[in-house]
């Protein structure tokens, strides 16, 4: 087993038993309190210059995603062009943080974004189910990295997690982290399949202990994806983790965030929970595709005073 990064919590991961004891020793989540807090923070009114700032920040945080069986090189190139230059009518529009594609499209995506600074993220490890042998998963990761992926989005083995086999989950993340090399690793928990908030908290800590650079809510392929509540919970986890270990971990809600209003609510959660350090696309991302168009329409509204419409943004 590869060695875990040395920090105050290293002891927790020495054996299955210590890991279990640590995870079950985490405080239980107050479900009602969490949801009330998340919805209360969603009522903030963000207007005028603050709104303009939030919209630009949100655009710069998007992992522009296409994860369909029907993805073609042409579609990936179009996505790359859009990530680099989201609104051709306004060159002042920030670039998105990354494009997110399947491993076999990484080379195409890499070519499309060129040296613009937009990163290429690739899902791997038998995304979205994660039901494959570890060797297959690692092969998936190595191929993506070899093709030039800057970031790897892996899925955890939810079956092992739900069966209580935390060490397997932990070791798989460690192994993928090693296989990722220089690429930053995002660990997807698929919160919609973890059933309880307590489980989401435990999964967050496993991911962070195993060396994740980002923890990510979901694949976007199941019924329940990112919600304010589960994102708030994960933001609390990264905040607490940094307090205890000094290591900062990013958060990426993905799936179901479609409007500017939603995105701004998430930014409020970030600011109020994790703090300003996370208000940067190095530490917070949105996994989204249709969100970008809504942000662009809002941006046009702020610039011109007229409500915009879907005829004035690209179809993707």
């Amino acid at each position: 087993m590869p060695t875990a990064p040395a920090h105050a919590l290293t002891d927790a991961t020495t054996s299955d038993r210590t890991l279990r004891r640590f995870l079950h020793g985490l405080p239980g989540v107050d479900t009602v309190g969490l949801e009330a807090r998340a919805s209360a923070l969603g009522t903030r009114s963000i207007k005028t210059t603050a709104k303009a700032y939030a919209i630009d920040l949100a655009i710069s945080m998007i992992d522009l995603t296409t994860l369909e069986g029907a993805d073609t090189p042409g579609k990936v190139r179009a996505l790359g062009a859009k990530a680099v230059n989201p609104d051709p009518t306004d060159r002042g529009t920030p670039k998105t943080a990354a494009v997110c594609v399947y491993p076999d499209m990484v080379a195409t995506a890499k070519e499309a974004v060129g040296d613009s600074g937009v990163k290429v993220a690739s899902v791997a490890t038998a995304f979205p189910a994660g039901r494959a042998a570890i060797d297959v998963k690692l092969g998936d990761v190595r191929e993506a990295v070899a093709a030039g992926a800057d970031e790897i989005d892996m899925v955890i083995d939810r079956g092992a997690f739900l069966a209580g086999d935390y060490m397997t989950v932990f070791e798989q993340i460690r192994a993928v982290k090693e296989a990722s090399g220089e690429a930053r690793l995002k660990v997807i928990f698929e919160t919609g399949e973890l059933s309880t908030y307590d489980n989401i908290r435990r999964a967050s800590w496993i991911g962070m202990l195993a060396g994740a650079d980002f923890i990510k809510t979901s694949t976007g392929k199941v019924g329940v994806n990112a919600t304010p509540a589960n994102t708030l919970l994960m933001l609390e986890a990264v905040r607490d983790f940094r307090e205890q270990t000094g290591v900062q971990v990013g958060v990426k809600p993905a799936g179901g965030i479609r409007t500017s209003k939603d995105a701004i609510k998430f930014l409020v959660l970030v600011n109020e929970t994790a703090g300003q350090d996370w208000l940067d696309n190095h530490w917070f991302r949105f996994g989204a595709s249709s969100l970008l168009n809504d942000l662009l329409m809002q941006r046009q509204k702020l610039a011109t005073g007229r409500y915009s419409g879907p005829d004035y943004v690209t179809v993707d």
Binding site: Q300, G305, R306, Y307, S308, G309, P310, D311, Y312
Partner: protein
């Protein structure tokens, strides 16, 4: 007999098939022609108007895609529902326009008849404004009318029900969807019409009804890039009408200018054809073979 508590009706907007309050939480007092309080109506904001446009856009493709025959059936269904709630509309129209019950009943009957009349037009309008064009060449040349898209309708201020029906029905009959600004001082018949539309198989979002200050809501709709046309029937202030027309020009909206209309007269097809775009198809006929005959 026990004294009953008065059951006051909360009038609400009709947007996307639902009955929301104004997003702003505001209301304003609606009075009858003698300044007696009737009800509080929602005072819509620009955001309500934007939400209504989103709902109308979402509904447009589905509504235009239904067969003209089915649209006619659904509009006829609206007339059936209006018939069933005639008493309520007679009361509201009498209050709003200061008419006697019998005169109001005449107005409501005329409105229902007009609705039926437009229902009949859905599958006939294509024959009137479309068809084959004679061209000098071996082509079939066919024109057919298509709906313009999302239409903002500023309903007439005085004729709170007959005028209202006369501006909504022609817009939706041809497959457009509508964002309607009800008469500012008499919005109650319009808000009640929303309740009728919601129970008439009309898909949510095809008609969206807002009440509030005309001068407050209309500018953002006139400049809205996702609105394709605007009917200024109920804009009585010339300066406002001009301002709205200028704003509408920005994305080349179709505009129907305000003009005096006798709503009780035969409406003709003007409003029905005002919100149509003509699609023309050139189809080469070629030759059918050695004989040289063509289609």
């Amino acid at each position: 007999m026990s004294d009953r508590l008065t059951v006051l009706k909360t009038y609400k907007l009709y947007v996307g098939g639902k009955f929301p309050r104004s997003e702003s939480g505001r209301v304003y007092e609606v009075t009858d022609s003698k300044n007696k309080w009737l009800a509080n109506a929602p005072l819509s904001s620009r955001k309500d108007a934007r939400d209504a446009v989103v709902a109308a856009r979402k509904a447009q493709g589905g509504w235009a895609g239904k067969t003209a025959y089915l649209r006619g059936q659904i509009l006829y269904r609206v007339a059936e529902m209006l018939e069933g709630r005639k008493d309520q509309f007679v009361r509201e129209v009498a209050d709003a326009e200061g008419l006697s019950k019998s005169k109001a009943a005449v107005v409501v009957d005329a409105a229902i008849d007009r609705w039926v009349w437009y229902a009949g037009w859905t599958d006939k309008v294509a024959q009137i404004v479309g068809g084959g064009n004679p061209v000098a060449g071996p082509f079939f040349n066919l024109s057919s009318p298509e709906p313009t898209g999302v239409v903002t309708v500023v309903a007439p201020q005085e004729s709170s029900f007959l005028g209202l029906v006369s501006v909504i029905a022609p817009v939706i009959a041809t497959g457009n969807t509508a964002v309607v600004i009800a008469s500012e001082n008499s919005p109650l018949p319009a808000l009640s019409l929303g309740e009728v539309l919601a129970t008439s198989d009309l898909p949510g979002g095809v008609v969206n009804i807002l009440s509030g200050r005309t001068a407050e809501i209309t500018p953002s709709l006139a400049s809205h890039q996702d609105v394709n046309a605007i009917d200024l029937a109920g804009v009585e202030d010339d300066d406002l009408a001009k301002e709205l027309e200028v704003a509408a020009a920005d994305n080349l909206k179709r505009v129907v200018r305000p003009q005096p209309v006798d709503w009780s007269a035969d409406p003709g097809t003007h409003r029905l054809t005002a919100f149509l775009e003509t699609k023309t198809v050139w189809h080469p006929t070629g030759s059918l073979g050695a004989s040289g005959s063509s289609y």
